[in-house]
């Protein structure tokens, strides 16, 4: 890390943060909304990792889920719909000292934000991207999203959504330079926390799809699932996630080595069961922000350099 950055690193390393340190404004999501539980898990993660609130930035787009930064006591950037990833990239590029998290809805990330999403996977800038996937447009009141199941009735497609849903895990795995791809569900908080933790610790762009209940509009999609652990299969591995605590509750488990991309794709493709866990990870992929080698000149040194540059144009 260069000298320029050291400027940003003066903080009291000794301080211990608790959950309370991350409490923001009262969350204004519907009662029972899965976003509440993502928020708690995130606050727990921050406390566990002892991240200074002033060194942590949550960037989001627009949507129910994108209100997230308002409800957590860190720096936050609640931007425009679909464009959280470019903003987060800008934040991180020059500030490697900041811990950057991105919170997006399915419409936000996969519909209007699709181009940025594909490219952010490829840039592989070190940040955690959370896709809060309720398979519907929440804030604008129940329109089809790219992940809405085929046939599901919405306000814009009242005869049932026309197409098979996009599979965000499969698509992410198709992008060259993908480096961390996982799926979890907010109604399995321990798994969600473990997944976020693995994502946070992964050096590079960590994409985590969180299946998220929206009781207000799509209670029938995930609402019943917490009662049916048998419809879930946990992908377990020492380089992925393997929580003993969950063993009893989720009997359906599959050993999957996250280094195996082909298998990851095969598993992602098969929609017969909901799989939670790390599909793929490769900590060695090149990271965009590391491709630059920025010297840390002082202002007078820069001026001197610039004089040399101007010499080239001298008459």
């Amino acid at each position: 890390m260069s000298a320029v950055c050291s400027l940003f690193q003066l903080h009291d390393e000794s301080r211990e943060y608790g959950m309370g340190d991350y409490e923001g404004a009262q969350a204004r999501w519907c009662p029972g909304c899965g976003d509440h539980s993502v928020l708690s898990a995130t606050q727990r993660l921050l406390a566990r990792e002892n991240l200074p609130p002033e060194k942590t930035v949550f960037v989001s787009g627009i949507g129910c889920s994108s209100r997230f930064p308002h409800y957590i006591n860190t720096y936050g950037f609640h931007g425009v719909h679909g464009r959280a990833l470019p903003v987060a990239t800008g934040v991180k590029l020059h500030r490697p000292d900041l811990h950057v998290f991105v919170v997006m809805g399915d419409g936000d990330c996969i519909s209007i934000g699709a181009g940025h999403w594909i490219h952010a996977i490829r840039y592989n800038v070190d940040m955690v991207a959370l896709l809060l996937d309720n398979e519907i447009y929440g804030l604008t009141k129940m329109q089809t999203s790219p992940t809405t199941p085929q046939g599901y009735v919405t306000n814009t497609q009242p005869r049932g959504s026309y197409l098979p849903p996009m599979n965000p895990i499969e698509a992410t795995l198709g992008v060259t330079n993908a480096s961390f791809v996982a799926q979890t569900a907010e109604w399995v908080p321990a798994h969600m926390l473990a997944t976020m933790e693995a994502a946070y610790r992964h050096p590079g762009f960590s994409f985590v799809r969180i299946l998220q209940r929206c009781p207000h509009f799509t209670d029938d999609l995930f609402g019943e699932l917490p009662k049916h652990p048998e419809r879930v299969q946990l992908l377990v591995h020492e380089h992925g996630i393997d929580l003993e605590a969950l063993e009893g509750r989720f009997p359906n488990r599959l050993a999957h080595d996250p280094a195996d991309l082909d298998e990851a794709r095969r598993l992602a493709e098969d929609a017969s069961v909901i799989r939670l866990g790390v599909f793929f990870r490769d900590d060695s992929r090149p990271r965009y922000e590391e491709t630059r080698h920025l010297p840390a000149y002082t202002a007078p040194e820069k001026l001197e350099l610039l004089e040399r540059e101007l010499d080239r144009y001298a008459v």
């Binding site: 950037f77 931007g79 470019p86 920025l294 820069k302 001026l303 540059e309 144009y313 001298a314």
Partner: protein, 638 residues
């Protein structure tokens, strides 16, 4: 890339023979064009002539002639590629009217220039003669037809057997002919051969040494040919100034200005004519700790710049019309969140894809009013290449001081025009200071708007105690989402007030010419040189005309109505579209007017007329002079 200056002045390659004594035309200014098919190197021929002339102390203005395609089919009027170099004894501020001498590699490129009315009647034409007796019958026919078309115009046509001559030194004259032609120009204008040689060496520094050497041989061949065959020379004696000068184009100036301003991130997506700023920065920015980020699209480029700026780094984004359109939503966010942001729009012809390589000034109203909602911000336009450099410093400082969006409107004329200007005296104070990382005092709000000025101190991630969430939703001074109605009125006022405050710090613009008179011409951006030249010529004719050039378009500079009141008639001259006043169905009321005139009318209620053209080329001072002549003493527009 080496930053060593090429060695000048003592090059042994050139002989010291005296030229014979042809007729010498003494000129205060003279315009030369070199045109070829693209790939034949007329561009570099012209560029070297321009640069060396500047180095010799001449005023210079160079304009690129660029086809719309990368390498269009050969021998086609639409494919003409080259350079136009206007050389003067004193400073040259614009491309001028027409060309006095043209070097053409084929008669079709020449025809293109003739048809665009680029050539002075009686101009000297140096035309490659190989096509006249070409094996291909079709080509011979085209040559004859062209000569016929050109014949009527009274040019002085000189055949140059360049191809044939070059064959003595190279198998493929298409790749060396430009150096031969450069030799002819070197002789004609008595250019310093050592400087020329140094430029050639610099240009081929990444290639095998033999390439430069062969080029210099071809140059000498051209010099020799001209000595023997041309009966005239042109003398534009330089009037050496006492200041150090640099010579570059406007995009290079923007790039260097950005560095001088201490910018740290340039986020962009390629688009003509803005892209070369990032090429320039791509070479050098990292050395200054800066990053060029080529984003997946213009929207992302704006987002990355905003993110970096939010995180305390100084960032700008650069684009042209279609990209400006795409960034519109993010610009609104920058205004609403008061995130400093500089956007450089190098304007080209519009609307839509329009004329990608050609100049226009028609993004003015879109830059000011394009963002849905009320989005007060700053719009500035550099008028010269020198200003392209300094505007970056100004823009960065305004953006940070006012937590504002600053749009800088350059254009294709500035972007590719090359001109010498006084070497900037760099100042450490120009460089952005390191972001504040000190703890935020308790109770302080992230938008603690000063009621009088609307200004506030921003918090930067990393500052302990400053945690808050920036939002594009209407918000109060703590950045909390607004749920009551008066907050929106209040925060809107705060964002607007900043602009009024900035306006108060501006000086009324100064006049070029008398303080009162028959006619006032108002301009903005790259037309300054042409307008001022036209005004000077008109004043020499005894006409009562002055001009005024605006740098700040939003907010407008103060005192305009008062200034306007001292003139019989006020009109703008712009490179954007306006209805002709006497066009069918056009009335004084419904006439669609030049963009600046429209702005001035609304603000001053003065009946500001306009004369505008969208010919895909810079305005010619002679054309503006015509406008002045017919409007001086003519009274109001009605």
């Amino acid at each position: 890339m080496s930053t060593r200056l090429p060695v000048v002045g003592d090059d042994p390659v050139f002989s010291a023979e005296q030229p014979s004594s042809p007729r010498v035309l003494e000129r205060a200014q003279y315009t030369v064009e070199v045109v070829s098919d693209s790939g034949e190197g007329a561009q570099s021929c012209g560029q070297i002539l321009g640069t060396v002339s500047a180095k010799m102390g001449n005023g210079v203005w160079t304009v690129e002639i660029i086809p719309a395609e990368v390498q269009p089919p050969p021998r086609n009027p639409a494919g003409a590629s080259g350079n136009r170099v206007r050389i003067g004894s004193g400073p040259v501020t614009n491309w001028g009217d027409r060309t006095d001498l043209i070097v053409a590699f084929n008669e079709q490129a020449l025809l293109a220039r003739h048809r665009l009315d680029a050539l002075e009647p009686g101009a000297v034409i140096l035309i490659e003669s190989m096509w006249q007796d070409h094996d291909d019958e079709g080509i011979r026919a085209e040559w004859s037809a062209a000569m016929e078309e050109l014949g009527a115009a009274g040019y002085r046509i000189i055949h140059v057997p360049a191809h044939e001559q070059c064959l003595a030194l190279t198998e493929n004259p298409y790749l060396g002919k430009n150096m031969f032609m450069l030799g002819i120009l070197t002789e004609l204008f008595d250019r310093d051969t050592a400087l020329i040689g140094a430029q050639i060496r610099h240009r081929f520094r990444k290639k095998d040494e033999s390439v430069a050497e062969r080029s210099i041989d071809l140059l000498e061949l051209g010099i020799a040919w001209a000595r023997e065959n041309l009966d005239f020379r042109v003398s534009v004696p330089p009037v050496p100034g006492d200041r150090d000068m640099v010579v570059m184009n406007g995009n290079q100036a923007v790039a260097l200005g950005a560095v001088a301003a201490g910018m740290e991130l340039a986020a962009m997506y390629p688009i003509t004519p803005a892209t070369s700023v990032s090429h320039q920065l791509g070479e050098m920015f990292e050395r200054f700790g800066g990053i060029v980020h080529q984003a997946e699209d213009e929207i992302a480029a704006a987002g990355v710049a905003i993110g970096a700026s939010y995180a305390g780094k100084t960032a700008f984004t650069i684009t042209s019309g279609p990209g400006l359109a795409l960034k519109t939503e993010f610009l609104g966010l920058a205004v609403m969140t008061e995130t400093p942001l500089v956007l450089v729009d190098v304007q080209r012809g519009g609307p839509s894809t329009g004329l990608p390589t050609k100049v226009e000034q028609s993004d003015l109203l879109a830059a000011i009013f394009g963002q849905p909602g009320d989005a007060p911000h700053v719009v500035l336009a550099p008028a010269t290449i020198e200003e392209c450099f300094h505007v970056m410093v100004t823009a960065r400082r305004i953006a940070e001081t006012f937590r504002a969006l600053v749009i800088v409107l350059s254009d294709a004329n500035l972007a590719t025009g090359v001109q010498p200007f006084p070497r900037p005296e760099l100042d450490q104070a120009w460089i952005a200071s390191a972001p504040d990382q000190s703890p935020v005092p308790e109770g302080k709000a992230p938008y603690a708007w000063d009621e009088q000025t609307g200004l506030s101190q921003r918090f930067i991630p990393g500052q302990p105690g400053g945690m808050f969430t920036v939002t594009g939703l209407a918000h109060d001074e703590r950045s909390k989402v607004a749920y009551t109605s008066d907050i929106n009125q209040w925060s809107s006022a705060m964002r607007s007030r900043k602009i009024a405050v900035l306006g108060q710090t501006l000086r009324p613009p100064s006049l070029n010419g008398d303080d009162a008179g028959d006619l006032l011409i108002v301009g903005w951006g790259s037309t300054k040189g042409a307008i001022e030249e036209a005004v000077a010529r008109a004043r020499d004719e005894g006409l009562s005309v002055s001009s005024l050039h605006l740098t700040f378009l939003s907010p407008l500079e103060p005192g305009l109505a008062e200034i306007f009141s001292r003139f019989q008639k006020v009109m703008t001259v712009e490179i954007n579209y306006s209805d002709e006043p006497d066009g069918p169905f056009v009335t004084h009321q419904n006439r669609r007017r030049g963009q600046l005139s429209w702005l001035l009318r609304a603000q001053t209620l003065v009946d500001v007329d306009c004369w505008t053209r969208v010919l895909g080329e810079p305005l010619r001072p002679g054309a503006i002079l015509e406008v002045i002549r017919s409007n001086c003493g003519a009274g109001g527009e009605r």
